[in-house]
Amino acid sequence: MDHAATTFMKPEVLAAMAPYFSRYFGNPSSFYRFARESRKGVEEARGAVGAALGASTDEIFFTAGGSEADNWAIKGVALANRERGDHIITSAIEHHAVLHTCEWLEKQGFSVTYLPVDEFGRVDPGDVEDAITDKTILVSVMMANNEIGTVQPVAEIGKVAHDHGVLFHTDAVQAIGAVPIDVDAMGIDLLSLSGHKFYGPKGTGALYIRRGTRVENLVHGGGQERGRRAGTENVPGIVGLGRAIALATADIEGHNRRIAGMRDRLVRGVLDAIPDARANGHPTERLANNANFSFRYVEGESILLLLDARGICASTGSACSSGSSEPSHVLLAIGLSHEEAHGSLRLTLGDANTEEDVDHLLEVLPDVIGRLRQISPLTPISARMPEAD
């Protein structure tokens, strides 16, 4: 139940890639007819990505993943438009690929506004408008959050940005296949996506760049991707990404209906069975597959470990690995205390999950939380199970 971290690759995707490993292995930038199949594979994939976003084929540029796309979009716009302004607006709950890129730009002399979010994790388009100055060159707000699943009012934010002549980038890594996207209707100038979040290959991604948008290159060198992203094309990866995005966006509504049904039963079941628990994120404006909880008195990593021992993969916003175990910036931004933020659990459903998985989780999780609360010094006596030995 950790599909937001990465997904398995669908058999159809691997099947689409297979011929390009060894049979059509040509370098698509090569010249001879032998390379034609590679070129065709890449261009068909480009078409599939364009179609999924309501964009033209020539506005799609392949990258090695979501992080590269985010870095490229933000640094690229910043460096190419420096003489127009040095101010960037983003939100406090972006992925680190956006936040750390913005921090790097601050070191290069740019100034960045990190907008707050409400208790559900939503950015207020009015805040975006208020933050815009005549130095603002870019607004970057993600389409859907990877931890708490909150979907942002992207179209409104896009409109605000455009009303002020400011470019709008959105990290849609978690949104592909979950939110119907139309870059024109949503006022999006740049959009990042990553293949392995929708049953495509790892190490593949794409950046949509609206025609005419000034963006400096991130990777300099050969003339690949029409001179904008150097490096021999990862042909099988690109082909797989194309196939995966076509599959993922074929029936977003039907997919969401099925997944949200399971997710809602899971959330209700957890909150019914476990006291002192809360569901994080927005009640309705959220990804269909995402459930995020805070369980008081316990710490997230230990929840994961005990779930793992019972065969359930999950994720937590508490990243106790750096020594100074930082709680999730997203959970703090929606107003959770450090303790609550440390005790978070993210469950994200995917195509492989069934109702039986939900049953299993509902069977296991209350026990796991109960055992950890028994260990914890924070647990009030009232919330403690009878002592074991």
């Binding site: 710490e299 997230g300 230990s302 205390s337 303790e339 440390h342 010094p377």
Partner: protein, 146 residues
């Protein structure tokens, strides 16, 4: 990330709980840090006859507390004071580098409990500097050298 042995200590921690009439309690960490360890001791004369813990924290914190309480049962207070975080790691077999600070927390919790015991008995606490969130601790002189 964790070895089987450490996972066993996490899924089946030993000595969980409180000692109702404890002779000493030591607590380190804070909710903001993401780790709290509280160690309870029963001390007869100079000897630790029972040790229990409650921990809020990651797997390594739970495993370290469990192992630490197992190690110090039956030790003298001076012996228990001398238990280093490296001893805890060794007893666990191994901890990921990023998790070694949890073994430091366990050592600090033991020392805090020992000093609580000494204070209750009207003795000077042995010198110790408490660790911050980052698990760095000054090494106060133990009983051997102070």
């Amino acid at each position: 990330m964790y070895t089987e042995k450490v996972m066993e200590e996490i899924t089946n921690p030993q000595n969980v709980g409180e000692i109702a009439d404890a002779d000493a309690v030591g607590e380190v960490g804070s909710p903001a840090c993401g780790d709290i360890m509280r160690i309870y001791l029963k001390v007869e004369g100079d000897r630790i006859t029972d040790a229990r813990f409650r921990t809020f924290g990651c797997g390594a914190a739970i495993a370290s507390s469990s192992m630490a309480t197992r190690m110090i049962r039956g030790m003298s207070l001076a012996e228990a004071w001398a238990v280093s975080n490296a001893d805890v790691v060794e007893a666990l077999g191994a901890l990921p580098l990023a998790k070694v600070h949890c073994s430091v927390l366990a050592r600090d919790a033991i020392r805090a409990a020992i000093n609580d015991c000494r204070t209750r008995r009207g003795l000077e606490p042995w010198e110790v500097r408490s660790s911050g969130c980052d698990g760095e601790t000054g090494h106060g002189p133990g009983p051997e050298n102070g």
